[in-house]
Amino acid sequence: MRRYGERLALDGVTVAVEAGQTLGVFGSNGAGKTTLLRVLATLLRPHAGTARVLDADLPGDAWKVRGRIGYLGHEALLYRDLTARENLVFQSRLFGVERARVDEVLEQVGMQRRADEPVRNLSRGMLQRVATARAVLHDPPVLLLDEPRANLDPKAAELLEPLIGRASGRTRVLVTHDVEGGLSESDIALGLRRGRQEIAGSATVDQLRELYR
C-alpha cells in the first residue's frame, strides 16, 4: 500500500510472479502502474503490506537486490551532456560490471557507431535504445519495464527483443497501454483502476479494455 498525502496510490494489490514469467500491468493513467513499478524497483517505499523481490523483503533488504533489477522507466536516466558510451561506463562503475560489457551491450542495441556523441544529439528512438542498454548492462534477472517500446521503430523493437522480450528468459514486469500486445506476451495479467486491482491472473482483451472506461 502506498499513499501520497491524502491519496492512495496503491491499495491492496496482491500478485505473485514466478521466475521467468512476465507480469503485464494494465490500466489507464493514474491507476498506479508506475507507482507499482517504482515500489518494486526499490525507488519507493511501501507504506503498508509487503513487497518481495527475489530474496529480499522491501524496503528493509532493498540494498541486497538493487544490483539484480533492471529498470526502464519513462525517463532515460542518462546524462545528456555525456556520450552514450560515457553514460554506460559510469553505470558499469556503479554496478561493478566489466568495461568490455559496455561495448557488448552497445552493439546489441545497435548504437556502436553513435556511441561517442553527446546523448542530447540523439533522436528519441536512439535514446530509448541507449536507455535499454543501461537497463540490461548488469544482466539483471528481473526487468521492470514501463512502456519499453515507446519511440521505437519496428526494426529497433526487433533488435531489442532478445534483450528485454520474453525470449530473454528474464522475469519481467511490463507496464503498457498496448492491451493486445501486452497481453500476448504476459503470463499473468494485472489490471489496476485508481490504485486497486480489478483483474488478477488471466484476462481477456475486452476485460482489460474495460479498465479504460
Partner: protein, 224 residues
Amino acid sequence: MTRAAAAILRKDLQIELRTKQSVPAMALFSVTAFVLFHFGLDRDRLDGALASGVLWVTLLLATVLAVNRLFAHEREQGGLDGLLLAPIDRTAVFVAKATALYLYLALLELVAIPAYAILLLGPSPLDQLPALLAVLALSNLGLACVGALVAALAAEARARDLLVPLLLLPLLTPVLIAAARATEPLFAVHPETGDLGKWVAVLGLYDLVFMLLSIAVFDFLLED
C-alpha cells in the same frame, strides 16, 4: 563506497569540464563583485578587516551559486533515480558531491584570490601565504559539507533557488566569522598571523561537527 563515490565524482567533473557551468560562473561572479565593492565602498585599496570581509562575503555568495547547481544534472536529466537504483552506499553520493564542491571552490580561489590581489587588495597575499592557504583549506571543507547537505535538502523543495541561500548563508556564518577574523591580520598593512590558532580551531570544530553530521544524516534525504 569509495569506488562509487569516485565514479560519481568523476562523472560530475566530466560534465563540468564539458559544460563549464559552475566554476566559470563563480569566478565571473567574484570578479564582478570586486568591481561592485570598489564602487560601492569608493575605495581603491583595502586592507585589514575590510579586505578580509569583502573577500569572504564574496566567496560565500559564490558558494551559493555552486550549491544551486550541485544536483542540477541529476534533476534535469533524471539521473537521481539512476543513482538510487545502483547497488551503492548512498553516502557515496554525499562524498562525491561534497568533494566536487570542494574542488570547485579551490579552483575558484585559484582565480579569485589573484584577481582580488590585483583589483582591491592592498597588501600582497603572498606575505602570509601558508596561513592563508590553511584558512582556505579548512573553510572550503566546511563550505563543501554544508553546501552538499543543503543542496540535497533543497533539491526536492519548490522555490529551490530561494531556499538555498536562505538556508545556506546562516549556516555558514560561523565559517565566515572564523575565516574573516583569521585573515584579517594576514591582510593588514603589516601582515602577521595574529590569533590564527584560535580561528583555525573554530574552523576545525565546525568542520568536524558538520562533516560527521552530514554523513550521518544524508542517507535520509535520498530514501523514499
